[in-house]
């Protein structure tokens, strides 16, 4: 077994994701099978291989990496707040974070 019930619980906690008992067991078994399959990567010797985080080289996005820092109007705040779950313009309201002592 590659991944245990405790592993899934720990990861779900890291991802702030509520899972039901049934989901927990189903995903564990399915992810276990996927991880078993992924094991095949071990067949490859990658000791001298550089990891590839993205495909583009610096010169292909040269102007993006060092563009001028210009102020441009955005003016979407009203629109954004209008569709927020609990807006209190100009803020998003969330449940209380700091406990009173």
């Amino acid at each position: 077994m590659k991944i245990s019930r405790e592993d899934v619980l720990r990861v779900a906690e890291l991802a702030y994701l509520d899972l039901s008992e049934k989901e927990l067991e189903t995903y564990r078994a399915q992810i276990d099978e996927i991880l078993e399959y992924i094991e095949k990567l071990k067949e490859l010797d990658t000791a001298k291989v550089e990891p590839m985080a993205q495909v583009l080289t610096d010169d292909q996005t040269a102007d993006a990496t060092l563009r001028e820092d210009l102020v441009v109007p955005s003016a979407v705040a009203e629109d954004v707040l209008k569709h927020a779950p609990d807006p209190e313009p100009p803020y998003f309201r969330v449940p209380k974070v700091i406990e009173r002592t």
Binding site: Y27, I31, L41, P51, P95
Partner: protein, 488 residues
């Protein structure tokens, strides 16, 4: 309002050129054309479920602008009056964009994606938003929170995914063209299943600004249409540098519609032995072999090549894609947009919102992606996946020193029956084998129709070109189409 087109009395299949001629000749107005498409959608969409939302007011405003140009005898922009559909992971100002997810059920973007803005600036009429797998995660469109899409070619079958709604809309004549997104095959595979050309440009070719992110190092926006010429016309409009996306490149954009007619004789085409191994449906194999013969007749040189890391692509892809997804989807926390499930504590609100808002496949990928990035597993999985990605990209670079393009099937299987594969995620993933390689390498790829199994189920031939070799890919696809490859 059917009008004569290409000699047909009843036009059900419009092309971009056909729309342009009809408008210029005043046989139909842009407004009438849009209304006609909405009538078709009304008639067919309840069965297909290809569209999730329509934007008739926006379409009418745009159509009126085009009609005013016609009336004033002004020059028409390249996509004047062309009715298009947009996959629901691409932001449209003022029109709901749900990503096929309950967590964004009521989300209305405050801005347009650059690709949408460019389509509209080029005269296209945005009809609405198309169904897709939730957050573009899936290969069958069965992961949409709003129900699966049916394949217009055979309605008991899936249209492919994740851009299933876009593919189905175009194939069913409910749009002249559509935008989809491709992370591991999500444009090419549904194009193949629905029997229409579908293209993913090089990574960086089309701006991702306004595309709601799944896996940022892999996501690409690209077109579906009924002909390669129309695919080229759409790509032409959406390609090119966008200051809003730092990964969109400054590489020059050739004139694709001009390029596609160039002769293909003498081009060297690689047939990777590694793609023709076990696991391919016999009907698919037969059609692809017949398709390759078409290129032989066109005077191309066919060269057997090796791409030795192909067999590792699925494993590398599902590590990288899920890792990036777990990070990208952290933003759905019930604070700024979308669903919120209330709780007195902030952390419990996050957990409940995400638990209730995401569907099964998305949760599975968040768990897997978080796991492969977590302390103690990062090197064994994520870093290993990135290293294997280097090897797969190297396979492509090596191949392109010997050949001008690579031919493969798009999918090992034709469209399968709805519900047939939903219980086995790994089996579903394994069917992405031919498309994920090009996704990891960042190269452009197209799926072009290559006959139908038993005259019914479409097969797609995939053509890969080197990075920023879109013109070559389109040219080969166009030549194939012209030479009768679509009916082999």
């Amino acid at each position: 309002m059917p009008v004569p087109q290409n000699g047909n009395k009843m036009a059900t299949s419009w092309t971009i050129g056909g729309v342009r001629e009809a408008l210029a000749a005043k046989k139909i107005s842009a407004r009438e054309l849009a209304a006609d498409f909405y009538t078709r959608i009304e008639a067919r969409n309840p069965e297909l479920n290809a569209y999730l939302a329509l934007s008739p007011e926006r379409a009418r405003r745009q159509a009126d602008r085009i009609d005013a140009l016609v009336a004033g005898g002004k020059a028409l922009p390249p996509l004047a009056g062309v009715p298009v559909a947009i996959k629901d992971v691409i932001s449209t100002r003022g029109t709901k964009t749900t990503c096929g997810s309950k967590i964004l059920e009521n989300y209305v973007p405050p801005y347009d994606a650059t690709a949408v803005e460019r389509l509209e600036a080029a005269g296209a009429v945005i009809l609405g938003k198309t169904n897709c797998d939730e957050f573009a995660m899936g290969s069958s469109n069965e992961n949409s929170a709003y129900g699966p899409v049916k394949n217009p070619v055979a309605t008991d079958r899936v249209p492919g995914g994740s851009s299933g709604g876009s593919a189905a809309a175009v194939a069913a004549g409910l749009a002249v063209a559509a935008l989809g997104t491709d992370t591991g095959g999500s444009i090419r595979q549904p194009g193949s299943f629905c029997g229409i050309p579908a293209m993913m440009g090089s990574y960086g070719r089309v701006s991702r600004y306004g595309l709601i992110a799944f896996a940022s190092s892999l996501d690409r926006i690209g077109p579906f249409a009924n002909s390669v010429r129309d695919v080229a016309a759409i790509l032409q409009v959406i390609a090119g540098r966008d200051p809003h996306d730092s990964t969109s490149t400054t590489a020059p954009v050739p004139n694709y519609p001009d390029e596609i007619g160039k002769p293909v004789k003498g081009l060297r085409l690689g047939i990777p032995k590694d793609y023709f191994a076990e696991g391919m449906n016999a009907g698919v194999r037969k059609k692809i072999e017949a398709g390759i013969e078409v290129y032989k007749k066109l005077g191309c040189e066919l060269i057997e090549i090796r791409m030795p890391h192909t067999d590792y692509a699925i494993a590398a892809y599902y590590i990288i894609a899920t890792a990036e997804a777990s990070s990208n989807l952290a933003r759905y926390d019930g604070v700024r947009y979308g669903l919120r499930v209330e709780d007195d504590s902030l952390l419990a609100m996050y957990r409940k919102t995400r638990g209730a808002g995401f569907g099964a496949e998305v949760k599975r990928r968040i768990v897997l992606g978080t796991y492969v990035l977590s302390a103690g597993y990062y090197d064994a999985y994520y870093l290993k996946g990135q290293k294997v990605r280097t090897l797969i990209a190297q396979d492509f670079r090596d191949a392109f020193t010997k050949v001008d393009a690579i031919l493969t099937p798009t999918s090992p299987v034709p469209a399968f029956k709805l519900g047939e594969r939903t219980n086995d995620p790994l089996q579903m993933y394994l069917a992405d084998i031919y498309t994920v390689t090009g996704s990891l390498a960042g190269v452009p790829g197209i799926s072009v129709p290559c006959g139908k199994i038993n005259g019914k189920l479409p097969v797609g031939l995939q053509i890969f070109g080197p990075a920023f070799g879109e013109a070559r890919v389109l040219q080969l696809a166009h030549a194939f189409e012209q030479a009768g490859g679509t009916t082999v």
